[in-house]
Structure formats: structure tokens, C-alpha cells
Amino acid sequence: MNFVALKMLVGDRAKYLGIVMGLTFASLLLTQQSGIFVGLMSRTFGFLTDTSLPDIWVMDEKVQYVDDVKPLQDTELYRVRGVEGVEWAVPLYKGLLRARLDNGNFQSCNVIGLDDATLIGGPPIMAQGTLSDLRRSDGVIVDEVGANDKLAKVLPDGRRVPLQIGDTLELNDHRAVVVGICRVTRSFQSQPSVYTTYSRATIFAPRERKLLSFILAKAKPGENLQAVCERIHKTTGLAAYTRDQFVKLTLDYFMKYTGIPINFGMSVVLGFIIGTAIAGQTFYNFTLDNLRYFGTLKAMGAGNGKLLRMIILQALTVGAIGYGLGVGAACMFGAAAANSELAFRLPWQVLALTAGAVLLICVGSSLLSIWKVIRLEPAIVFRS
């Protein structure tokens, strides 16, 4: 009977395409909006995932997320280094500084100051130059996207020329020379990232009593990370998180205190509702149109179980096709949006979530049809 069910489904081209389009649209909207949401959220902690070497991030207890810098006294670094189980600890400066561009415009930059001796906390990928070039006088490394876009030089004719090695810019009235171009995860606010040494960053930064943003630490081999974090907290009174914990802290902040989840959630819910409405209604109409034939099958000896399986097969078939097309379109959208300002990430969880939602739409749509067919009196076949 599967053959009959499928031929009934695809034979009515208009309705078949209508159902598939509805599910494709729902699937596309669910995948695309969730993908952008995940992409955007990933940018909030991109700096943490880019900085892979340290196990432990030490900071003020009141810090709520990675950009919420509450500076520490420089002496805290030595206290952390003295905690049992800590192999090494280095300082990190992170702050927003104004860069003055060639054409006189200003641009806020995310300046990261790395430990002068080890340069730990540097960018994950160098596109041009090397990390050690930071040791050159006034050296800074600029991220590729920033160099090509917001920090690009504007020629008199209006053309933009990417910032290159050897170019200079002013950071808070201090001269900085580009010695390298790196690739990093885009930040949530899309500001260019500028890496330099810790000591130089503290010169660039406005005068403050405390300038140490974070202490990056590594636990000794075999040490339990959580235990070391607790020990640092107990000894210094500072908050110490593993990288995953800090990622979660950051994510939780954005989820709780920004309207992003609600806005994207609404889009996702809207996609789900519209998909359910279009696909559900068309599928129900399809069943209504075929009620006479379901009645005929019932009269000819097809039980409710058989008819139910036919409807479920029809629903799952259009669901699978709609899901495939929708996810495929979302992937194409993602590929087209790569290397642009648009955040888009498609982890397997999003695909699973969309599959679940499409399945739910199919189940919801077919339930109405199943109800109608189960209640169908086979005697309908004798009504002309």
C-alpha cells in the first residue's frame, strides 16, 4: 500500500508542491534563523575559543562576561603564580581603544595586550608576519577583516586600500606600526582586533590605577582544573574559571540580559507556525480531497491501521523532502554569507532541532488527517 500512498501523494502535483514548499520554507526559516542565532552567540565568546593555550582565566569576581573587564592590580598576577597547582600565569590586557585612521576618522578597536615575554594569548592564525614581530618597536598585529574594512586606508579618490604591514595608525595618540595580519573570530560588536604586547597596551590605554584585565593560567599536568580554580579563588579572592566555564558565563549573560534570544526565538516560532499552517492546511486539504478514495479503500478492506500508515508515510515523505530542501537552502545561504558580517553557524544540534520541528509539523498535520480518516464511514463511497 506504500506504493498507492506515494502515488496518491505525488499525483496531485499542486498540493504536493504546496506541502513541500510549506515544509521547505519552515525548515529554511528554522535552520537559517537558528544558524544566525548560534553564529551571533558564538561571536560573544570567540575571543575565548581563539585563546587556546591557557586552561584557566582569572578575573575580578564581578565580571559577568568576556567584554565586561574589571581591572585587577598587577600584584594579583604574582599571587596567582604562587597558588599550588599553577604551572604558569601571564597577564592579559583587553580594552576598547580609539584608533585614528589615515583620513582622520576614529574607529574603536579591541586592543589585546599579550605577556611581553611569552606572547601567550595571541591570535590563532597569522595571515602575514609572525607573532614574534610584536617585539618590534610600536608593533601591532591587526585582524584581517578589520584591516580590509574598518581600518582600511581611504584614498583621495574614495577607494579603500587594506591596511598592510608597515602601515601606521594612532592608538590613543600613540603611534602603532602594523607588523602582522592575523585571522580571528569576529567579535560580537564587529570591532577590529589589535594585538600588541602587554606593556605597550598599557601605554596605549588611558591612565588608570589598575590595567590588568585577566590573568591567564595553566595548571600543572595531572592537576584537576576545577580544584586549581577553587584554590586560586580561595587564595586570592578572584574568580577563576576554566575556559568552558567562562564561555558559559558569557553565553548566559547574553542569553539573560539581551533581547537576542527573544528576537530570534520569535522568528523561529513564527517560521514554525507559518510552516505548520501552510503545510498542515495543505496536507489536510489533500486528505479531504482524497477522502472518497480513503473511503473506497476502507470499503475494500483496508483497516484503519493500514490507512494510518499510508498517511504517516505521506507526511514523512513530504517532511523529509521539505527538510532536505530547507536545510540545503540554509547551507547555501551560509556558504554565501561566509566571510561577511553576517554570523552563521550550523552545528548538528541546529539540524537535529530543525528535523524535530519538521517532524512535529508533519505529525501535527497528519493528526488532523488521521482523525478525519479514522472517523470516516466507509458508507461514504455510495454517496454520489
Binding site: F3, K7, G11, L297, A299, F382, R383
Partner: protein
């Protein structure tokens, strides 16, 4: 739940069942309740013999369709007894009735009820697929039966919309025959057809469908085909008014 084998055994245990294909005694059917109740059948007594073509005739609303719906096991009576080849549907569960219909009853409908997206051959194979037979066997059997009703290869692969009304009714007859049912019920099989096509459809029903102990019940108000019946039961207002042996007798009495 009884298996089809058990049903067959049950069937065999009933004495003299071959003498009567369908026996209705005091059959009543009321739709709705209270003041809005409609009494469609008011005590029908009717017997249909194996190998017989019984015509059920009468004006619209006299209960013909309700009666064949009960005989075919797709509608439950309110009162009375209806035994089909020894089976009393009231003593069978819903799933047993469904299975029995699939095995023993064939249907021919006024509007043909062919699934429009299936070819003629595929439509004819549906009763076999419902019974769980594999597609290849069902397809072979459906082609065999379609040949019996005069279809060639090209017509077998046509969709219902590509066939004339008479051809569609032939497909419907082939579908009713494909699983060798004991009883075939036909509801107004010629009402959508012109006189000539109607006659040829009835010829086909008599020559191909009416074989062995198979019984045929044809509901119609088309007086031109009354002559095809072995007996004609005239219904009026939910009763069997009379049963005659020929159209002439029916017309004669009317005069």
C-alpha cells in the same frame, strides 16, 4: 480476533449456506434520534441466491443504498438480521468485518471511485494490495482481469481521466472481480453512462462477473437495465414492495 482461515472454517460449518448468499430478515435502519430520526429501512426481508443477479430498484430515498451498505458490511443495521454467506456482521468485530469485505466482497460504484493518480492496472490491483499481496503478483492478476473486460496494453497504462466513462466502469468492474469475491455489490453502475455503454457494462457484469456461486446485487433506477436481473426487488419507503422475476412482470403489474 479471528483469522481469515477461522472465518472460512466458520463459513463451512454453517449448513446449506450455499442455498442463500444473502438473507435479510426484519432489517431496520434509523438515522438520527428523536424527532429528527429518519427511518431508512422499515423491516426488509430479502434473500439473494448464489449465482443470481438481484436488482434492487425503486425511487430515490427508498433505502436501496442503505440496504446494500448493510449487506456489504459497511453500515450497521439498527435492528433485524443480515447474513451474508453464513456471516452475521453483528457478531463480527470491526476488524473482522473489514477483513471479510476485503476477501469476499467486490464493489462497483456509481462514480467509479478510481484513484485518479493510478493507472487502470494499478487501480485494479488495489484490492490485492489491500490484502497484502506483492505488487508484481497483483499487477499480473490485474492485467489478466483487465484483458477479460476487453482492455489492451495501452489502455491498462492509462490514467482514469484518459478513459471514457464506459472504460472507467470496466476498470471498476475489473477491480471488483480481481480478488474473486463471493458477492459483488453495484451501486447505480450505469447511471453515468449512455444507453449503449450501460447495456455493454451490464452484459459484462452478467458474462464475466456472474460466475459460479457468486451473487450480484445491483442497485439501480435505470429501467433500461432491469431486464439483466434474474429477479428484481422493488423497494419503496424502506420496505420491499414486491419481488418479481422479470422487468416485464414489474412493468405489467405497474399497469
Amino acid at each position: 480476533m479471528r483469522s481469515s482461515q477461522e472465518l472460512k472454517k466458520l463459513n463451512m460449518n454453517i449448513p446449506n449456506q450455499n442455498d442463500v448468499a444473502v438473507k435479510c430478515t426484519g432489517l431496520r435502519k434509523t438515522f438520527g434520534e428523536g424527532a429528527a430520526a429518519v427511518r431508512a429501512l422499515r423491516g426488509i426481508d430479502l434473500e439473494v441466491r448464489p449465482g443470481e443477479l438481484m436488482m434492487l430498484v425503486g425511487p430515490s430515498g427508498c433505502g436501496k443504498t442503505t440496504l446494500i451498505s448493510i449487506i456489504a458490511g459497511i453500515l450497521d443495521q439498527s435492528d433485524g438480521e443480515c447474513v451474508v454467506f453464513g456471516h452475521d456482521f453483528r457478531r463480527m468485530s470491526q476488524s473482522e468485518k473489514t477483513r471479510y469485505r476485503g476477501e469476499s466482497i467486490g464493489f462497483v460504484f456509481q462514480a467509479y471511485n478510481l484513484i485518479p493518480t493510478l493507472t487502470a492496472a494499478e487501480n485494479v490491483s488495489v484490492p490485492l494490495l489491500v490484502r497484502g499481496e506483492n505488487r508484481r503478483k497483483a499487477n499480473d492478476r490485474s492485467r489478466e482481469v483487465l484483458q477479460q473486460v476487453g482492455f489492451n496494453e495501452r489502455m491498462m497504462l492509462s490514467l482514469p481521466t484518459q478513459l471514457s466513462g464506459g472504460q472507467q466502469q470496466r476498470v471498476a468492474i475489473a477491480r471488483a472481480l480481481v480478488h474473486n469475491p463471493k458477492l459483488i455489490v453495484c451501486d447505480e453502475p450505469t447511471s453515468a453512462l449512455d444507453h449503449e455503454t450501460g447495456q455493454s457494462v451490464m452484459d459484462l457484469l452478467r458474462s464475466v462477473a456472474l460466475q459460479g456461486s457468486r451473487a450480484l446485487i445491483v442497485v439501480t433506477h435505470d429501467a433500461r437495465i432491469f431486464g439483466f436481473g434474474d429477479r428484481i426487488a422493488k423497494l419503496d419507503d424502506g420496505h420491499v414492495e414486491r419481488i418479481v422475476n422479470s422487468a416485464a412482470e414489474l412493468n405489467g403489474n405497474r399497469k
